[in-house]
């Protein structure tokens, strides 16, 4: 009885569950609705808009590698918070980088 937690905390723990896989995104977790939430999620913002990065170049491996998952997949917008125009450029750059062996098509298991 004494160890029963605050009633809202188990539900908050469940909410955290499905979002945990948004790992490498710079925006981190976000997009939560408000209203009695334990965790306030900051609205994700496009990294390229905020930091005013104009050029998304295929040679910039360090930048691009932040937007590919462990296995080499492109991380979707909904996890990283990148805006549509920038995601389009980003995905094109990642694909070019893959072609010249700067990024993997599929990482080794």
């Amino acid at each position: 009885m004494s160890d029963t937690p605050v009633p809202s905390s188990p539900s908050a723990g469940q909410d955290r569950g499905p979002r945990r896989d948004g790992r490498s995104g710079p925006g981190g977790p976000g997009g939560g609705r408000e209203g009695g939430r334990k965790f306030f999620r900051r609205k994700k913002q496009c990294k390229f808009c905020v930091e005013k990065i104009d050029a998304i170049n295929y040679k910039d491996v360090r930048l691009l590698s932040g937007f590919v998952a462990e296995r080499g997949k492109i991380v979707p917008r909904r996890l990283t918070g990148v805006c549509t125009p920038h995601q389009r450029r980003l995905s094109a750059a990642i694909k070019q980088a893959r072609n010249i062996a700067l990024l993997p098509f599929a990482a080794r298991y």
């Binding site: 893959r98 072609n99 062996a101």
Partner: protein, 132 residues
């Protein structure tokens, strides 16, 4: 129609330094013969490849910036394809991207000017009083 291209290619890692020099100079010659003007040729050094290419785990990256038309690029690509030490290449057109970046830079510059000129009108106002 002369356009700006970037040709990046990977050379096999077991090549000697002088062979690398020779390769890049011959390629430069071929490019100029094909009607392209070589802007720069840059060694990006030895790098680990993200996946094995022709059983090589790493390679020398070389970046070639040229001003050329489609035919010349085609010729350069053909040369790269037949040259044995080159294991991978990619050619990317960069003039449009440069144009876009210049435009953004210009827009940003005008915005900065406008914000800088906002306090500026305050300055000329006292100036006539001083002269008068």
């Amino acid at each position: 129609m002369q356009r700006r291209y970037e040709v990046m290619f990977i050379v096999r890692p077991d090549l000697q330094e002088e062979e690398l020099d020779k390769l890049s100079s011959t390629l430069e010659g071929h490019a100029t013969n094909a009607g392209a003007t070589v802007k720069s040729i840059e060694r990006m050094g030895k790098r680990r490849l993200a996946y094995t290419v022709r059983k090589f785990a790493d390679g020398f990256y070389i970046l070639l910036t040229v001003e050329a038309d489609g035919k010349a690029i085609h010729e350069i690509e053909r040369r790269l394809r037949v040259s044995e030490p080159v294991i991978k290449f990619i050619s990317v057109r960069i003039d449009e991207e440069e144009k876009r970046l210049d435009k953004i830079k210009q827009i940003r510059a005008t915005k900065v000017k406008r914000s800088a000129s906002e306090p500026a009108p305050a300055e000329p106002a006292p100036a006539p009083a001083a002269t008068a």
